[in-house]
Each structure stands twice: as C-alpha cells, then as structure tokens.
Amino acid sequence: MKKINLSTNNKLALLALILGFVAIFFGNPDSSNKSIVNTEELALNIIDTNNIIHPMQLADWIIQGKVDYRLIDLRNESKYNEYAIPGAENIPLTQIKTSELLRNDKFIIYSDDELRTAQSWLLMKTLGYKNVYILVGGIDNWKESVIFPRLNIENSDSRIIEISKFFGGTPIFGNEHKESNISEFSSKVAPKIQAPSSAGGSKKPKQKREGC
C-alpha cells in the first residue's frame, strides 16, 4: 500500500471534514430546551416558602429605592400599559427564554394569575435563574393590600395609609362597600404611579454591556 503523506494543513482539513460530517448525525444542539434541575433545592424552596415576597414588603423596597432586584411583569403588553407596579419591566412569559436576563440577578415576578406565575417561577428556575421570587397574589393582591388597603376606622395603621398614598391609592375603611369600590378603582382610576425618582425601577440595575 502506498503511504500517503499529509501536510499539517491537509490533516486539519481532514479533521474538519470528519467533524463536519459527524455533525450531520447530531442534529440541533437544543441546550436551551433541556436543562438539569436541582430538584431538592426546588422542593426546599417550595416547602420553606422562601421564594415569595409580600406586596407590603415590595412596597417598602420601592419606597426605600432598593435597586438590587428586577421586577418582572409577566402579563401581556396591553395589561402592562394599563397599570403596572412602579419599576416593573414587561417580559411576557413566552419571552423569558429569549430575554437577556442575567442568571444571578434577583427577580420578583408577578402576573394576574397565581398559577401562571408559579409555573413561570418553575420555568425560570429550570432556565438557571438563581434568585426568583413570586409576588404573593400578583397584581390583584398588590392593589388590595397596597393601593386600596382595607382598614378598620378604629385602629387604622398610619404606615399603611402612608404607603397607599405614596402609590397614589386610597385606603378603604371597613364600613365602605368594598367590592364595588375596588373594581371601580382598579378599572377607572388605576392610579398612574408617579413614584419619586428614587423608586425601584427608575434606576436600572446593572446591565451587562456587550458587542463589538
């Protein structure tokens, strides 16, 4: 048999050809669609309920001007434009996968559907986002406990009234007719928030720059 002498270039070209040929049988690398999840960590998260944030706590953070988290509104754009919690970014569920969110940032997610939010939480965890929190009760709970809190006239907490006013809301006192009030407010007034510039979302948390 004749010995074939290959130059380095030829060998490299051959290697590329082989690797290229083998690639045909591997198909698409769909790493984005499969992921490995630490099920124990997930289970602990769920049992300890340390993956939730209460509206009042969030309201406090916004007033304090905390910027170490990103608030994600999972609802669709029209609902987001109608009313959103100050500082919230609108990223509908379908776009979470392609969004360029950093995996180690802290996220608080909410929508108008608890089940969907919970599922989104699971989806984000499987996508590798480390710190994801659910706003308990979503936007409705936000409106009920922060914007239009129900209070007893006798022992009304001035702090709650203060917070409510800060977000352009009105506390509802015990003897008022609640149901109609809330729905009326949330559809008609839907207070457009003029939160001060120190509030959460006005300062964007660090965003990585990239590109050439």
Partner: protein
C-alpha cells in the same frame, strides 16, 4: 456549569476587561503572525495572488463553528446566549461596501491597522487616524442617517433559521464550502501569480 460565563454573571465587569485584554492580545498576535500587519499582503488578496486573509478567516470561522457546535451538543455551552449582532440588511450591505473600498484603498481593515500601527508601520498609524476621524465624522452626521441606520431590521439570525436547514447539516455544508474555498484559493494563487510574472516578463 454552563458557558458563557459572562452571561451567568460569574465574574465582574472589571474581570471581564482582563479577559478581553488577554484575548485581544492573542488575536493581535495571530493576526501579526499571519502577516496581516502588512498592507501589501492584505491588498494582494484583491488581486488573487495571496489569499492568506481569506484562508485565515475561513479557518477561524470553521474552527469556531465546530467548537461552538460540539460544546453545545455536549451541553457545556448554551449557544443561544452567545452575543450576535442584529441584522440590518441594507445598511449592512452599504457598510460592507464602504469597508471594502476602504480596505482596498488603505490596505487595512480596522483590526489589522492596529496590528500594523503597533509594529511601527506608518501607513497603519495613518489608517488608524482615518478610522478615528471617520468614527468621529459618523457620530456628527448620525442624526441625519439614523433612520437609514436602523432600517430593514430583521433581528438576530442564524443561517439555519434562514435556510431552514438542520444545524448539523449546515455545519457540514459550511465545512465543505470552506474546504472548496481553500482549494479554489490555492488554485487562484498559483494561476494569478504566474500571470503576474508572465506580464512582468513581457514588459521586460
């Protein structure tokens, strides 16, 4: 652990500058070793007498493609997170033509002018001044051309999305294309170099 590490925020922005510095040094070094610090070498590719630029670039493309592909297959890399420029079709075609003209006239592309300047070539240094002046000029007229600049946007595209060919087959196709390109390049080099010599002979 899944790459790209930067996207996962595993190191700070400051540390990423150090990494960028090291990669940049490496890039410059290999451009220089490939002879791209010489305008003569670069310009001769347009006369098909020396297609080293074409060969080096295509080698880089194929190497990177095979690397990214197999790392994604193994699951070490999430290729969706690699930064890609968005496509603005017409402005990028126009920009490519301008860059091509500049390349032929000046003998360098922006990257190689830096290589040439850093090895002390005066033409490289002048080219670099031109790049800076041009960038400055563009920023001045940017408001006027902005609508065009962002026109015909078609987002981030992959070849496999455009051609609707499975990724694996596309990898093979690009490898074949590159190898065919190399063979054609070698052939052209021989042919056109001979022609130049013949022309020179006739003149003598």
């Amino acid at each position: 652990m899944i790459a790209p590490f930067y996207k996962f925020d595993l190191f700070s922005e400051e540390f990423s500058f150090i990494i960028a510095f090291l990669i940049g040094i490496g890039f410059g070094f290999f451009l220089e070793r490939a002879g791209f610090g010489s305008a003569k070498k670069l310009a001769s590719q347009f006369y098909f007498t020396d297609l080293a630029v074409f060969k080096v670039m295509f080698t880089a493309i194929v190497t990177a493609m095979i690397g990214v592909y197999y790392l994604s297959i193994i699951g070490i890399l999430d290729y969706n997170l690699i930064y890609r420029n968005e496509t603005f079709l017409v402005p990028q075609i126009v920009g490519g033509l301008i860059l091509g003209f500049g390349f032929i006239i000046g003998g360098y592309c922006p990257g190689t002018s830096l290589v040439a300047a850093s090895t002390g070539k005066l033409d490289g240094l002048f080219f670099l001044f031109g790049v800076i002046a041009g960038t400055f000029g563009l920023s001045l007229i940017f408001p006027i051309i902005e609508p065009f600049y962002y026109s015909t946007a078609i987002g981030k595209l992959n070849l496999s999305d455009v051609l609707l060919i499975p990724y694996g087959i596309l990898v093979f196709a690009v490898v074949l294309m590159a190898l065919a390109g190399f063979i054609a390049a070698e052939w052209a080099e021989k042919r056109f170099t001979q022609k130049t010599i013949e022309v020179k002979d006739e003149k003598n």
